[in-house]
């Protein structure tokens, strides 16, 4: 399991799925799975050195980075932490057993953790919500609790984090997880064979050394002692060295459908990958962490059956007849219209409705303007678009006032967020002023502005969120009032993701899922490295020959020489105050650049779930993002039978519509 959560933190979790997850709630967690031998069998066995041999040769060639030391080399004055005092996660009442029925909209395109197409929502099921990392942020306390590590120690002076590994840890195929798998992680993610430039860059630049002291003690050294060094050091899942014996240039094809052994509770059997239809996760028998303090009450279902249901409405119907256990009701339409409190299933207590207010960085729903495109490279046009986009109306009338306006792309990071910056309101006059400054002064026969060349002020807004298409039609109608035309293009989630990764979009309505972390990331989405190849010449002027860079998260093609310098400073800064100050400065600059129209934030999630799905007393944890992600829920098969029988006979239970607002915050 190669995944680095870091990375997922940053770059992945892009939109499509994650977004859907947020928009529609927990029921849409994606899925996928497995290894598929048949396809692999078609690939001839690789000749040449095995993955291990290649890795050893690589370690030997990079002795500065890969160090082999002895236990005596570990400093003795370290203060070891183990997070043992943190409260348990989940409920002690949780029972193991049952099957969780889930649905996904698209079948995953690969089971690899890295490389092309691996960044979809399916990651949640094999990686982000399942795989155990060295340590995890506690969902209430924000501090780290142990996963694969038992304890860790930070040495600020040497910018190094020392980590003791849990000798109990096993891969799902039974092999031991040892220090070698962390070494292999670096070899693997720095290899060009994985076709993942982001990983290559991250692992090539964000660490300067990994040392092995014995099989269960390692250390990682970073170039800078950042305030959240622990995040960088601990949020790793190793890569199973033994699994990648045939690692080579054909990695992408060879491992396309191979389920990578996991450190987590769920794995996928060959026979459970039914292409195009379903994937089933099975709980690892005798899972190594099943009795550990932070893991024992979680991952309770014996199996998770995830089938493809391409249509949200059908998914809801499947939920309504009891084929799915939970369904996200975050959209007002579902909460108030499709499953109102008066619904017989709710009134009779068969289906429970729950609202949960959480606290975490919010996904940045908004319009991402590709500034590489003609007209959109004009600041006045972008400012005009900002003023002509009526999010307030969408929030008030479509979302029924339940969401809030987002102010910057970096909301929810505490002091790192710049609360002085406010999103531009809908203002037709200001929009027209800016459009006029860009040369668009005349309204055409349809009311859309044109310039002296007869060019219409018209842009394509692409989105992969079928369920949010009405939002765009409302924006379109409103923008027309300011003389701006939005052409709406609603694509299938995967196609929209592809389009934006190829930088073919003009304006994209999307969001990045934001992970729980201390401060926002700027490099991925706003450094010119991710916008163009060689964006600037030596002296900081624009390189006229620069080429757009694809497959990055810089969706705005945002390239600003001064901003780059700030990002670089921010990257190397180790002082928190300095970082806060830099973040504020960059957020202001990004606002001034007007290449992003902040949309809305949602401070809660809502789900409907059948009576047999049980949640802990307080429902979920403070920083959770969806009802299912921590796997603290459990299933009671007896209750399921009882409920279904009661529903047939018309027997009613106490209706349950619960609001968990203990973590509600004013935005």
């Amino acid at each position: 399991m190669t995944d680095l959560n870091l990375e997922s933190i940053h770059m992945t979790k892009f939109s499509g799925f994650k977004l859907m997850v947020l928009a529609l709630g927990a029921a849409l967690l994606s899925a996928c799975g497995g290894e598929s031998e048949p396809e692999n069998a078609a690939v001839a066995p690789a000749a040449g050195p095995t993955g291990s041999e290649q890795a050893r040769a690589y370690y030997a060639a990079n002795p500065d980075f890969f160090s082999f030391k002895t236990p005596a080399d570990v400093p003795t004055d370290l203060v070891w932490e183990d997070g043992a005092d943190l409260p348990d996660i989940g409920s002690p009442e949780a029972k193991k057993g049952g099957i969780q029925y889930e649905a996904m909209q698209d079948y995953p395109r690969t089971l690899r953790h890295v490389g092309p197409d691996s960044n979809g929502g399916f990651r949640n099921w094999i990686l982000d919500n399942v795989a155990v990392m060295l340590a995890h942020r506690h969902p209430d306390e924000f501090d780290y609790y142990p996963g694969l590590a038992t304890s860790w120690a930070v040495s600020q002076a040497t910018k190094t984090v020392y980590i003791k590994l849990d000798p109990d840890a096993r891969w799902s195929d039974g092999e031991l997880v040892t220090a070698d798998d962390y070494f292999f992680l670096f070899f693997f993610n720095r290899s060009e064979h994985i076709v993942a430039p982001w990983y290559n860059n991250w692992y090539g630049t964000q660490y300067t050394n990994i040392s092995k002291y014995d099989d269960y003690t390692i250390s990682l050294t970073m170039p800078e002692a950042k305030p959240d060094m622990l995040t960088q050091a601990l949020e790793h899942t190793p890569v199973p060295e033994h699994f990648y014996a045939e690692f080579g240039p054909d990695f992408v094809d060879r491992y396309q459908w191979s389920f990578v052994p996991t450190t987590g509770a769920y794995y996928i059997k060959d026979e459970d990958i039914v292409k195009g239809r379903s994937v089933t996760l099975t709980r690892v028998e005798d899972w190594w962490a099943k009795d550990k303090k932070f893991w024992r009450n979680r991952y309770n279902a014996d199996q998770v059956y995830i089938s493809v249901i391409r249509d949200t409405a059908k998914m809801f119907e499947a939920f309504k007849v009891g084929d799915l256990d939970m369904f996200g009701l975050s959209l007002a339409e579902y909460w108030y219209e499709k499953l109102p409190d008066t619904d017989p299933d709710v009134q009779n207590g068969y289906i429970h409705k729950s609202v949960f207010y959480n606290q975490r960085p919010r996904p940045n729903y908004g319009l991402w303007i590709n500034t590489d495109r003609p007209l959109l490279n004009n600041l006045d046009v972008r400012l005009g678009i900002n003023y002509a986009t009526n999010w307030d109306l969408v929030i008030e009338k479509y979302f029924r006032g339940e969401y809030q306006r987002m102010n910057t792309a970096f909301d929810g990071f505490g002091e790192f967020s710049n609360s002085a910056v406010r999103a531009r309101p809908f203002d037709i006059d200001k929009a027209q002023e800016h459009f006029a400054a860009a040369g668009f002064t005349q309204r055409g026969p349809d009311g859309i502005l044109t310039n002296a060349d007869g060019q219409r002020l018209s842009f394509t807004v692409t989105s992969g969120y079928e369920s949010l298409a009405p939002v765009l039609t409302i924006l379109k109608e409103e923008a027309a009032k300011a003389g701006l035309d939005f052409r709406i293009e609603v694509l299938d989630g995967t196609a929209a993701f592809k389009k934006v990764q190829e930088k073919q979009h003009e304006i994209q309505f999307t969001a990045f899922g934001v992970f729980l972390e201390m401060y926002p990331r700027f490099w991925e989405s706003y450094h010119s490295d991710n916008a163009y190849d060689d964006a600037f010449l030596e002296d900081g002027s624009v390189n006229p020959a620069r080429q757009i860079k694809v497959q990055t998260n810089n969706l705005e093609s945002f390239a600003d020489y001064e901003f780059d310098q700030l990002v670089d400073q921010y990257t190397v800064a180790s002082d928190k105050d300095e970082m806060v100050q830099l973040a504020h400065q960059m957020i202001q600059m990004h606002h001034d650049h007007a290449s992003f129209v902040p949309g809305f934030v949602q401070s809660f999630y809502r789900i409907g779930h059948w009576r047999w799905v049980k949640f802990p007393e307080n429902f979920n944890h403070k920083h959770s993002d969806s009802a299912g992600e921590l796997f603290v829920h459990w299933f009671d098969p007896a209750v399921k039978e009882e409920t279904l029988a009661a529903r047939r006979s018309g027997q009613a239970f106490e209706p349950q519509i619960n609001v968990y607002d203990q973590y509600k915050e004013e935005l």
Partner: protein
């Protein structure tokens, strides 16, 4: 100029009129087509007539009138419903005449303050209710149907033009041309049509205007649909070509073109006409299916398929959406089918034949 029709054809037309069900269906459909041509006068958020400060305005087909023109503060298109209300409040000589349904298919209009599906309401003039973002269903239905109807007519013309040319040529010329095209058509017709449309349409850039996109959609559909007509035409032409009257014409010295256009084609009319309604039905169905699947016209273009989709998604909470869309589709397709039956029957030479 008087249309010269031969007695045979006149007889067929007479017979068509006699088949009441088909005939009235035809009349009704023609009325629908005519009404839809004037749709902007019936269903539109632009006023028919505005009398303002002694001057008359007819905004329906003209450029937009900014609000400032009628004393509003805004520079975008006037909201004529507001204007009417204002004039009534002011009580002056100014007046507005609004269409029967004063909504455009794309505007979100709500009285509850929330964009959601509202049931039919006479008072609000949402005669069929609103869809999930508070757009008038009647307006969307009307313009969606109009698009589908004209789309299918265009489809019919194009498919017939190609199908008849190629089919007749195959039958008339025969030989290697026939053989070659038979093979081409065999291969071509095995390409799954709907998938091809979906694939091709998904790569068309969104920068194209709606009408261009409709034209492209039409072209693509024609490209994969012309084959069906060719085989009927080929058979028919083959049959006619072997008749004595064709040989006679040739002996007299008639050119190929004359034989084809004056002798063969008129005699294949029955085949052509019989298939017409079914071609229309298939075009309407296909374009509706594409929209339903989300591969048709981009939002917010009104379409039957999009309404059907919304309807099926809100089957329980807003049944008025699906009933409107489904009802319309049933009516149109039934009318066309009745016409088709009548046409087939009236062009069947064996009026009194009984199959045993």
């Amino acid at each position: 100029m008087r249309l010269q029709l031969n007695p045979q054809t006149l007889k067929k037309l007479r017979r068509f009129r006699e088949i009441k069900r088909g005939y009235y269906s035809f009349v009704i459909l023609m009325v629908i087509v005519l009404v839809s041509l004037l749709g902007e006068l019936l269903i539109n958020n632009r006023a028919l007539v505005v009398s303002y400060e002694g001057e008359l305005f007819f905004p329906t087909y003209t450029d937009f009138h900014p609000g400032t023109e009628f004393g509003f503060q805004y520079s975008y298109e006037t909201n004529y419903r507001d204007l009417q209300e204002r004039f009534e409040l002011e009580g002056g000589d100014n007046w507005v005449l609004l269409p029967l349904v004063p909504y455009s298919p794309n505007e979100n209009h709500t009285v509850t303050g929330i964009f959601k599906a509202d049931p039919p309401s006479l008072e609000q003039k949402h005669y069929l209710g609103t869809d999930t973002t508070s757009r008038d269903i009647l307006a969307r239905l009307f313009y969606g149907t109009r698009t589908a109807l004209f789309f299918s007519l265009g489809f019919l013309v194009a498919v017939y033009a190609i199908g008849i040319s190629v089919g007749s040529a195959m039958g008339y010329l025969g030989g290697w041309f026939d053989l070659l095209f038979q093979r081409v058509i065999e291969i071509w017709s095995n390409i799954p049509f709907l998938y091809m449309v979906i694939i091709i349409f998904s790569v068309i850039p969104a920068t194209f205007s709606i009408s261009t996109r409709i034209a492209i959609l039409l072209a693509v559909m024609v490209l994969f649909s012309w084959t069906s007509m060719t085989y009927y035409m080929r058979t028919e032409t083959y049959k006619q070509k072997a008749r004595d009257y064709v040989s006679a014409a040739r002996i007299i010295g008639a050119s190929d073109a004359r034989i084809i256009f004056h002798h063969v084609l008129p005699n294949t009319l029955a085949t052509m006409v019989t298939f017409m309604p079914f071609t229309i039905v298939s075009a309407i169905t296909a374009v509706t299916a594409l929209d339903f699947l989300g591969f048709g016209l981009p939002p917010p273009t009104p379409s039957l398929g999009e309404l059907l989709k919304q309807g099926t998604e809100n089957l329980r909470t807003a049944p008025w959406i699906v009933t409107s869309a489904f009802g319309t589709l049933v009516v149109i397709l039934t009318l066309v089918t009745f016409i088709g039956e009548a046409v087939r029957e009236s062009f069947d030479p064996k009026k009194f034949t009984v199959y045993k």
